[in-house]
Structure formats: C-alpha cells, structure tokens
C-alpha cells in the first residue's frame, strides 16, 4: 500500500505511523523532517510543481517497494509557508524486517531530496529571501544507492 500526500496543513506523525503499522509486519521505520532554525531563519516557503509532484513521489515509492519487501509506504510532504520547528516531511515504511524498513525509509528520503519537484525559499529574520541551492551531500546520498 503506497500513500502519497502533498498538503499545506500539518500532519500527525504518530497517527500516520500507527495507521501504517496496523497493516502488520512488525517492523516500522519513520523519518520526520522539520524546519531547522539557525537563529537567522524565520520561515521557509515551499513551492512545488503540482502536476509532477505526486508522480515523482510515487515513482520513488514504487522503486523502493521493488527493492525491499515492504507492506506499505507513507509519504507526506508539506508545501506553502512553514515556520521554524514545523514539520515538513514524513516518510514511513512497514516491513517484516527491520533492515528493509530502515533502508527503504532512508532510500526514499535520499531520492526525495534530489528528484521530487520541491523548491525551498528561506525567509530570514531581517526580511531577506533566498532560494536554497542544492547540496552536494544530498546528491552524494542519492548516488550511494546506485552503487
């Protein structure tokens, strides 16, 4: 079961994890990403390409389910304006075995950062705005799974 959601509203990570865990299997892994504050950041503005986003996320999820024996995958990604400390993303995987659940969760996050059409703009305390640039470490992480 693959569930993909792109939304402006916040999500209940506990409820989402429980929902996926209820499928059975016994091994559940999850990752929650929040807006990281470094003192200068006020908020993030997340833009996406609606016609492509779900397609891209589903492709990542399908690839993960081909690579690992999973019972279910949940991906929730928020868009719009998010304040420091708010949740941005949830990835949750459910399997019979710990390793499959953890690795698939990590794989999905790494792919999501490089092939899902989202763009972050930082809004700083002083009012200046900049588009976040891609990070080499994210590209390296996504590349890791190809080797």
């Amino acid at each position: 079961m693959i569930s993909i959601t792109v939304q402006e509203n916040d999500f209940e990570s506990g409820a989402e994890i429980n929902r996926l865990a209820a499928i059975g299997g016994g091994a559940i892994s999850s990752f929650v990403g929040q807006v990281r504050g470094d003192g200068k950041l006020r908020a993030l503005e997340l833009e996406h390409y609606p016609a492509m986003t779900e397609k891209a996320l589903r492709k990542i999820a399908v690839k993960a389910s081909e690579q690992w024996a999973l019972h279910g995958i949940t991906i929730i990604h928020r868009v719009g304006r998010l304040q420091v400390g708010e949740q941005i993303v949830l990835v949750c995987t459910c399997s019979d075995h710990r390793q499959a659940a953890i690795e698939a969760c990590s794989y999905i996050m790494d792919q999501l950062k490089t092939v899902a059409p989202f763009w972050k703009k930082e809004i700083l305390q002083d009012g200046t705005e900049n588009w976040v640039e891609e990070r080499q470490s994210d590209l390296d992480a996504a590349q890791y799974w190809k080797s």
Binding site: H48, Y49, A51, P117, W119, D138
Partner: protein
Amino acid sequence: MPHQLSIMYFSWVKERIGRDQDVIDCPENAETVGQLLEYLRIKDAVYQDVFADLNKLRFALDQDFVGLEAPLRSAKELAIFPPVTGG
C-alpha cells in the same frame, strides 16, 4: 502544423521571467529541449538572461525529468526550474 507547448517555470526561474508559464507554437526546427531553449534565447532578452547558464537548470517533459538532448516530439508541457531542494 506547429504544435502548442506549455512552458512552466518554477522557483527563481519563475521570479526572473516574471510569469509562471508561456504557451508557444513549437518551431519546427526545434526538435530537442536544448534546441528549443536556443530558439527562446534568440527570441527574447529575458530568456537570454535567465537561461544563460544551463548547468543551473533542470527540465521535465510532460512531468518526467529529461536532459537537453530529449526530443520534444508531441510533448504538451515543458517545465524549467533550478535543481530541486525538497525534503
């Protein structure tokens, strides 16, 4: 007969062009994404400026990532944007 192509812009590409999309009649001699960009750059100074460094841009044709060499064929939508930064 020329086919119509929607070109969508995102992130700073959208801000610098000043609109979120254009609809164009695809020129017959533009067979690939790269050739279409070249055509646009010659046509308008704004494109010339925003598409100056193609290494900073990524492309999707009908919602799938493609490279500059990708054939346009009968695609309906080309998206032009910087590298993605979600997650």
